[in-house]
Assembly symmetry: C2
Homo-oligomer: 253 residues x 2
């Protein structure tokens, strides 16, 4: 069965779009704000917002709307329904203890990676990463590892349709540069990043497969840039990451 035009509920799609207009830089919005941000008619945006408020997903002071923590239930329903966090967390903690570095697991969503689990050792990044946090895929080790498992055209298309700012002087931004690096990653089976996300931060990642061999996530370690060249660090710690990936392979479905 294929999804036909007739089976789509406009109201639901619009309401979800309305929720997504609430971002970090626009936590409080008026009806007109939302209408402008979502492209909906003001009357429609108003009905969406009032519905959200009525259902407890938003609050309204008569002028501005704010999302409530109830909205988190929608997202965490998904996270909780993924067995992944619970399964990988213990392995992540153990690995992090053993190698003394921060480790994370993320999945790919479009052109972004989404953190699923994390074992932090020290703060090496200025931004706090936690489950649910997102980073662009093009400049992260986990992103590149997962993009490398997609068909070339698919990966390229995802990268083309999203911005690739130069987050640091080292960031690869050109589509061909990134695709070439991804091709390299595909061959060698892991990805190493040297200060492309943030100055002072290096990371490396390997793919996580389920029992059937499908790549469903990525595992990485992040560390502060130091005197030891990242290539050497990679050679030293790669077996550790691969061992955990192999161990998890049997546990993930």
């Amino acid at each position: 069965m294929t999804i036909t035009e007739r089976d789509i509920m406009g109201g639901l799609a619009k309401g979800l779009a309305v929720i997504e207009t609430f971002a970090a830089d626009r936590p409080r919005q008026s009806i007109s704000d939302v209408a402008a941000a979502s492209g909906l008619d003001r009357a429609t945006a108003r009905r969406c917002l009032l519905t959200l408020a009525h259902q407890g997903y938003a609050e309204w002071d008569g002028k501005f709307f704010t999302l409530t923590p109830r909205v988190l239930r929608l997202g965490t329903a998904c996270l909780a329904s993924m067995p992944m966090p619970a399964i990988v967390q213990p392995a992540l903690d153990a690995l992090s203890d053993r190698i003394g570095e921060s480790t994370s697991v993320s999945i790919l969503d479009g052109a972004e990676i989404v953190y699923v689990a994390r074992a932090a050792q020290r703060k090496v990044m200025s931004i706090a990463l936690m489950p649910g946090s997102r980073l662009p895929a093009y400049c992260t080790s986990m992103g590149r590892v997962m993009l490398a498992t997609l068909p070339e055209a698919e990966a390229r298309s995802r990268l083309e349709t999203s911005p690739r700012p130069a987050r640091t002087p080292h960031t690869l931004t050109g589509i061909d540069q990134v695709m070439a690096e991804i091709a390299r990653v595909r061959v060698q089976g892991y990805s190493v990043i040297d200060q492309e996300v943030e100055m002072g931060l290096c990371s490396m990642a390997v793919p996580l497969m389920n029992a059937r061999g499908q790549v469903i996530a990525a595992l990485n370690l992040g560390r502060a840039a130091g005197p030891e060249p990242m290539a050497e660090v990679a050679q030293r710690l790669l077996p550790e990451l691969q061992a955990v990936a192999a161990q998890l392979r049997g546990l993930l479905r």
Copy 2:
């Protein structure tokens, strides 16, 4: 302006209800499963699910539906739009380092607390807590502190309409027991829990106020139960918690 019946979009409300039917124990559902769980007609549930799939919030293998990580955007839009995590995280990290215990900040949603930020020292709980995680309010130190700031009738009503299982032999489960404890917490200004959530886990919490004096969250520390009586620990560490709460009071709005 008040929300009238006419301003509510049924489709949106139903679709959100559909998302919420996906929980940890039911990650994959057929159309009929969702219809039964949500009380919707099968035809309606079907259109909701097809819409979610079409918008990228769900996946469909022809038989079962699964939520995608895209759903996380809905929730994290809210978390990110709260200035709280970013503001409290540094203070939390510093506090955690200073006292050598895990600390957290959570907010109240109905009869549950929702973790907003966390600085973990060691694993003391069997379940992994992270931003977005939920625990019932009745048996947690942060929950009791926040319930204590509500009107008595409101707090009681929230507790009455949600289950209060005996998670350990120490858990207070009777509504009057819990309300009495909450009354005590209201007077003394902080809450101490001794192994009511999980055996071996103790915690204490203080309220977090914004600049106007409204309680908007709670701050706690969690530690493994040890030889030192929790009452003594509380006396020793209470000033630390209160100092952080006072410091944050000026930063939160």
